[in-house]
């Protein structure tokens, strides 16, 4: 082999190597952003959280019943991730242009709005109108969604919840307690129960939100329904004395041991289980808990022994006890790219049938109209449904208007607040700092 040809070969080889390397680099570079080309979906893929079983079970039974034809055209495929990993998963999928057809839209409305702003979410209001099913949504649910999502219908109301305190009627009667109407009465009842060796409240400190919901409850009752909107708008700060007062009240409950031992280690299921097995007298929860209360396997105290009361009034406060915190559960939405005719058929079927199905099978109240009359499984379900229809003004929850970081900071520090490792002032300061950094 002559020197020249070997050099030429070497030059070709290095050119080839360089070319291959740059191709590989380009491939790596493109990997992150995704091409985002619109391809018709093969499945009615639905990404949900492991903790929520109601929606996926109801959708599965719809796929075998009323929505069979939609399912034949576009089969339902459910995938779940732990709720704590949902936001990460969504951000990565959105970055790769690989969002499923239908998905839980993030733990905080802020993320959903971000997705909507970048055009990843279908314009549901227009789509529902197009499909002729916009009248299948309860107006109250629509207004709650709009209050949460900057005036737009960005998610579907698979749940429509109000929140309050579920209590064990048997324990209340046995201890001569009346349903507390004010905060002071609630605290007095808790003291009485604690003295008798009964744990007054069960709450999941691991989730954090069942504790921060108590803070917002107190804030709405003491400062009125705009308490947290003022914080979001910058008119007030969480470190203002009247706001710190709410955290102080909740911390005091923890200090007295009303949440039981090791509240930071209690997960959602354990908290629910403590109440449903009669180990705790009260549980602050949303009406989605009716699904658990109606399930005889979980509910050992019996649904007839469960009562529901609004968050009590605070003496001299500006709020009223008929203002219920309401939400639509974990917002579920549809991707813009994959919304085609077959997806439309699914959405239309869900809008018409989901309300009755979820109520009948799971005792779960949604924001879809109940088109087939369903007899309530128990009294407490009827009570909650009546409360929802009678409710005139709704309020949001503590983190509803926070960004993702402030939401996480608030929920991960809540257990520290009630266990005493963090003072109320410190807690509110930490959350306010996260809010200000947004």
């Amino acid at each position: 082999m002559s020197l020249r040809t070997s050099r030429a070969r070497r030059a070709r080889l290095s050119l080839f190597t360089a070319g291959a390397a740059s191709m590989a680099l380009l491939a790596t570079a493109c990997g992150g952003s995704g091409s985002g080309t619109a391809a018709a979906p093969k499945n009615f893929s639905y990404l949900s959280v492991t903790e929520n079983t109601t929606v996926k079970t109801a959708l599965t039974s719809l796929s075998e019943g009323s929505c069979k034809s939609a399912n034949d055209a576009l089969p339902l495929k459910v995938e779940t991730v732990p709720q704590a990993s949902l936001d990460q998963k969504l951000q990565l999928l959105a970055g790769q242009g690989a969002l499923p057809v239908q998905f839980a839209a993030g733990n905080a409305p802020a993320l959903t709005q971000k997705l909507a702003k970048s055009g990843k979410i279908a314009d549901l209001e227009a789509k529902l109108k197009e499909l002729g099913v916009d009248d299948q949504l309860e107006p109250a649910a629509v207004s709650t969604i709009k209050a949460l999502y900057g005036g737009k219908l960005e998610v579907l109301p698979y749940e429509y919840n109000i929140e309050g305190v579920f209590y064990n009627k048997k324990i209340f009667e046995a201890n001569g307690l009346k349903v507390p109407g004010t905060w002071d009465e609630l605290v007095a009842s808790a003291a009485k129960l604690q003295a008798k060796g009964i744990q007054p409240f069960s709450a999941s400190g691991q989730q954090g939100w069942p504790l921060t919901r108590l803070i917002s409850g107190y804030l709405y009752r003491s400062l009125g329904p705009d308490a947290l909107k003022d914080v979001a708008d910058g008119k007030a700060k969480l470190t203002d004395p009247q706001y710190v007062k709410a955290a102080t009240e909740i911390a005091a409950l923890g200090k007295k041991g009303y949440f039981g031992k090791g509240v930071g280690s209690i997960d959602y299921d354990t908290a629910m289980n403590q109440f449903l097995t009669g180990k705790a007298a009260m549980l602050y929860m949303g009406s989605w808990a009716l699904a658990n209360i109606s399930d005889a396997k979980q509910d050992k105290i019996g649904a007839t022994n469960v009562g529901f009361m609004p968050f009590p009034a605070v003496a001299g406060g500006k709020g009223s006890i008929d203002q219920y915190p309401s939400n639509v559960g974990l917002g579920i939405t549809l991707g813009a790219k994959s919304f085609d005719e077959k997806t439309g058929a699914w959405v239309s079927c869900i809008a018409k049938n989901y309300g009755s199905k979820a109520l009948k099978d799971h005792g779960s109240i949604s924001g879809f109209k109940v088109n087939t009359p369903v007899t309530d499984a128990n009294k407490v379900t009827t009570q909650v449904r009546d409360t929802i229809s009678a409710s005139k003004q709704n309020v949001l929850w503590f983190e509803a208007l926070f960004g993702t970081k402030a939401t996480t900071v608030s929920q991960t520090n809540a257990a520290g607040l009630v266990s005493g490792s963090m003072s109320p002032q410190q807690f509110m300061q930490t959350v306010q700092d996260a809010l200000s950094a947004q």
């Binding site: 190597t17 790596t28 970048s118 031992k261 900071v409 520090n413 257990a415 266990s419």
Partner: protein
């Protein structure tokens, strides 16, 4: 052989593929990440230039200061614990158990092969106070001490984390150091014994200096591993209570992927890289001096 390694083309051919793979999976993401630290945004919103804003934010962020302090504290304590416990175990194998050490070595090594998440869950149950009282609290109750919520306060959560990580990895360091100790010639030990060096004196003047190189390697391994600890902390405390056991790695992960702030997350990654580099430099310096002296 000399001719082959003296030839530049041969070196290029031998190193080329490895260098290419290394560049693609290590250097490119590192440079990329450095680039991100000058931007703001995430994969949904897109990225915009942000100058040095992320770096000035890094200096003012109390959470970063806390995470950095926790990372260093954790790395020092766990490294010391792992290497000291490993060394003591290795001494035990070589000088007391001798040939019978195989079974004990296997048992102590066992946690190393367990998945970190499983160990995390195991320790969670071990130290839990609710919903069931864990074995540790049951033991405390049995001797008349009230249950402790180990994961409810930052200091107790920190110590549970330390105990878990030392337990999990001391078997590895024991085997590593054991290999170093068995290399010490029996004649040297014998002559030292004849000169009257026994027990602690033998260890201090003969065994320790002769096993210094392998001890230094263990230290470098350990400190670099613990500075980047992530999985064991996520599995046991997930950074809690609050953010009190959040190291830089976890804070970086949360910032980038939970809060969707890739730019600032990358800036934290840069800080972590600098810390790792500095610590490695210091350890290398110290070890080189010691080795030449020894």
């Amino acid at each position: 052989m000399h001719r082959v390694l003296g030839d530049r083309r041969a070196i290029a051919i031998l190193l080329g593929p490895a260098l290419l793979v290394y560049s693609l999976i290590m250097l490119v993401p590192m440079v990329w990440s450095l680039g991100y630290s000058f931007t703001k945004g995430n994969s949904i919103d897109g990225f915009t230039g942000n100058g040095f804003a992320n770096f000035s934010r890094l200096l003012d962020d109390p959470a970063v200061r806390h995470a950095l302090w926790f990372t260093l504290k954790y790395a020092v304590v766990v490294t010391a614990g792992q290497v000291v416990a490993g060394y003591l175990l290795a001494l035990l194998y070589v000088f007391f158990l001798k040939r019978a050490s195989a079974l004990v070595r296997t048992l102590v090594f066992f946690p190393v092969v367990l998945p970190t998440v499983a160990v995390g869950l195991l320790f969670q149950k071990f130290f839990q106070v609710a919903p069931q009282t864990g074995p540790v609290n049951s033991l405390l109750n049995a001797v008349g001490i009230d249950s402790i919520d180990f994961f409810g306060s930052s200091s107790s959560a920190f110590w549970v984390l330390i105990v878990m990580d030392i337990w999990r990895s001391m078997g590895f360091y024991a085997v590593l150091l054991f290999a170093g100790l068995v290399d010490i010639p029996e004649e040297v030990l014998e002559s030292a014994r004849l000169d009257g060096a026994t027990g602690l004196r033998l260890v201090r003047h003969i065994v320790l200096p002769l096993s210094l190189p392998v001890l230094m390697s263990s230290l470098i391994f350990s400190i670099n591993g613990t500075l980047k600890a992530f999985d064991s902390i996520v599995a046991l405390t997930n950074g809690g209570p609050g953010n009190s056991t959040t190291p830089l790695t976890l804070y970086m992960f949360q910032t980038s992927f939970t809060y969707g702030d890739y730019g600032y997350g990358s800036t934290i990654a840069v800080l972590l890289t600098v810390v790792c580099l500095l610590v490695s430099l210091v350890v290398f310096r110290v070890s080189r001096r010691d080795l030449t002296e020894g």
